[in-house]
Symmetry: C2
Subunit: 203 residues, 2 copies
DNA sequence: ATCCCCATGTAATTTGTTACATGATTGA
DNA sequence: TCAATCATGTAACAAATTACATGGGGAT
């Protein structure tokens, strides 16, 4: 009966929110996270199943078990009236965070200490991941744009904008990392390779 | 003597990397995280101090205590030869992650369930944070661009590109969230408010 | 044959955040 | 006088990731 945390948009709160749209099992919710939230929020079974158990214990969702042939029973969760109220409260009180934790950028900061092949590999891998992400998001938008609510369309567009910008930046600026060989030892290279500044366009 | 983790670019590894540029105390390193990595990687004292202790125990850094007047002794860390080798190994083996966890976007996904004032407030707050970030990053680049190594310039530009894209997307698309009033109850609104599609430009 | 999908969950581990604990100096 | 900066660290806590544990059905 106690309310859910009104501090963070954690996995528990998001499961509740997704259940406000339609009933689902933990397995289904994982799929939703992977398609809807893929580019900005991830959650595994290890977070989702305990979250659902907590929500059920708090009376915010109800569970009905659907027998399956040859598989574990499907446990389908439905949001309750208290659950809707609790989620509405959460939406009105939570101060949402927006955190990027990029080991990639942290690593590239030290590009001067890497050997060139390694550096190139890192950049290419990242560029490939971004291309995949763009493909995925375009496919997603083509498949759901018609019926999706404004919020869903907005976040899909937001993800696309960010990923596109990242891909573009890498494409246009990677060569600034490829100039100087990694001089093993030499400290202050006062050689003026000052010909490359990051490409930018004005808004 | 054992090597540091070759899996993640964690706080420990990044401290080691920063120490490969110059000696520093935990306090100094926190400052570096805040200025250099501010927009893509954060670390608090609670991570940094234990990281330094671990690095020292592993022989990758050495610590000398500098007495202070009226303050705790300053503990200045220097990287050792083993430390440099270990960091080089890390740079060559770690597969870096790039994780965005945006409670903001997750929340906006449910925009249709929010009351309009709340929604507007969220959007304005986020836009303000982004403007602050842009200001910060521009100031940072103006102050250090001349002497900074290519890696540092690249990541600063990358951050700027991402944040600028986010700010722009919000500015150009927020109105698509402000159309429909939050209809408390009505399920399938088949009303065709299909006049707003996300603004995008081709690359 | 082998791999992926379905379907659930627990337990251990890792990681990081926050609060606690202390306290002088400097500038507004 | 008040806030910020300097300066260190520990302990408790929260959260999420990963590994473990199980197993049938369907497609290639």
């Amino acid at each position: 009966m106690q309310a859910i945390g009104t501090e963070f948009m954690d996995v528990k709160t998001l499961c509740l929110g997704l259940l406000s749209f339609e009933d689902a099992s933990g397995y289904d919710l994982k799929k939703h996270f992977e398609s809807l939230f893929r580019h900005f929020y991830s959650a595994g079974y290890g977070s989702i199943y305990p979250a659902l158990a907590d929500l059920a214990e708090a009376g915010l969702v109800r569970c009905r078990e659907v027998p399956q042939q040859g598989r574990p029973d499907r446990k389908v969760y439905s949001i309750t009236a208290e659950g809707r109220a609790s989620f509405a409260t959460a939406l009105n009180s939570i101060q949402p965070q927006h955190k990027l934790r990029s080991e990639f950028l942290a690593m590239i900061y030290f590009a001067d200490l890497m050997n060139p092949e390694r550096l190139r590999k890192l950049m290419e891998d990242r560029a490939a991941e971004l291309s995949d992400a763009i493909e995925h998001i375009e496919a997603f938008r083509r498949s759901t744009d018609k019926t999706a609510p404004a919020g869903a369309r907005f976040v899909a567009g937001f993800s696309a904008a960010l990923i596109t910008a990242a891909e573009k930046y890498i494409r246009e600026n990677k060569q600034m990392l490829y100039r100087k060989a990694p001089d093993a030892g030499g400290l202050k290279n006062a050689t003026k390779t000052r010909d490359t500044a990051p490409v930018e366009e004005r808004a």
